[in-house]
Symmetry: D2
Subunit: 93 residues, 4 copies
């Protein structure tokens, strides 16, 4: 997949932020921070990871799935099945 | 969108089952069934609705998005944006 | 569990609304409504079911879990485990 | 809240694993790994974060909510409301 530089940089910036959030949560647990406050940060990190996933999926549909749709045939079927399975995993996680 | 008869029938059968599940949950609440047992049924109905949504999305990618990808241009952009927004709503609901 | 009349009525009203939403979705599929519009309604019904589940859980914590906490011992452990499992099913569905 | 040493250690171990997963995902994006493979890892990290959240919630119900239930009165109401809001955030994230 050829990804636009900006989109890739954005994804990396988001992932570095999520990594920082998870490290912050570990610190909160270590310092016995009040559970509910830790949970609020876990929810925020989960939503941030979700945004990363939706960004990757956008990219995937716009590039791989579009190319496969133009190619048609078994390539198209394979790519659609793969995309559908990834979406299902995301919806269920 | 032209949907295969079978797929449409399957979706309708699933939706009728979900409708029955929701009616069953109402009856459980009415009869003061133990909360946890009601919750188990609500989780089952939610998963069934999720399966309906994933089926609709499959269909949508295989027909509308594929057609738009072949057409290219603004049509393709519009359909991709629309699909991405529907996926995001689903992941977040 | 003794549930307040109002809360029970509210839950039943919500469930009747969800049932109507699901029936509406079936009608949309039957009439070949545009996929994305059907998906929007499925997301709305999912969120409504989620609200029902959160209401039931509220009730359950406020009554069964509180009573079990006052009783203590194995009753408390059993009720906590049950509540945790219901929450996990809900978070994962 | 006084948390058992083991439980706290378990949570910290899980969080360190999630941190490693997120760093691994960033590396995959950097190296232009195939989208679907990156998405699979994002789903795994999301589920791992969810397990952390469910563990924290277990702990919270077993300690804070149980204590508040025994104290009764406004303390109980406040803790229940707080727990319900945390569960709702979790279910919706």
């Amino acid at each position: 997949m050829t990804r636009h530089g900006t989109s890739k940089d954005q994804q990396l910036a988001r992932l570095r932020r999520v990594e920082g959030q998870v490290r912050g949560i570990a610190r909160m647990v270590e310092e016995d921070t009040y559970c509910i406050d830790v949970l609020t940060q876990v929810s925020a990190a989960s939503r941030a990871l979700q945004a990363v996933a939706l960004g990757l999926l956008d990219d995937h549909l716009a590039h791989c799935v579009v190319e496969a749709a133009r190619a048609g045939g078994p390539e198209q079927l394979a790519k659609l099945r793969e995309a559908n399975e990834a979406i299902a995993r995301l919806v269920r996680s």
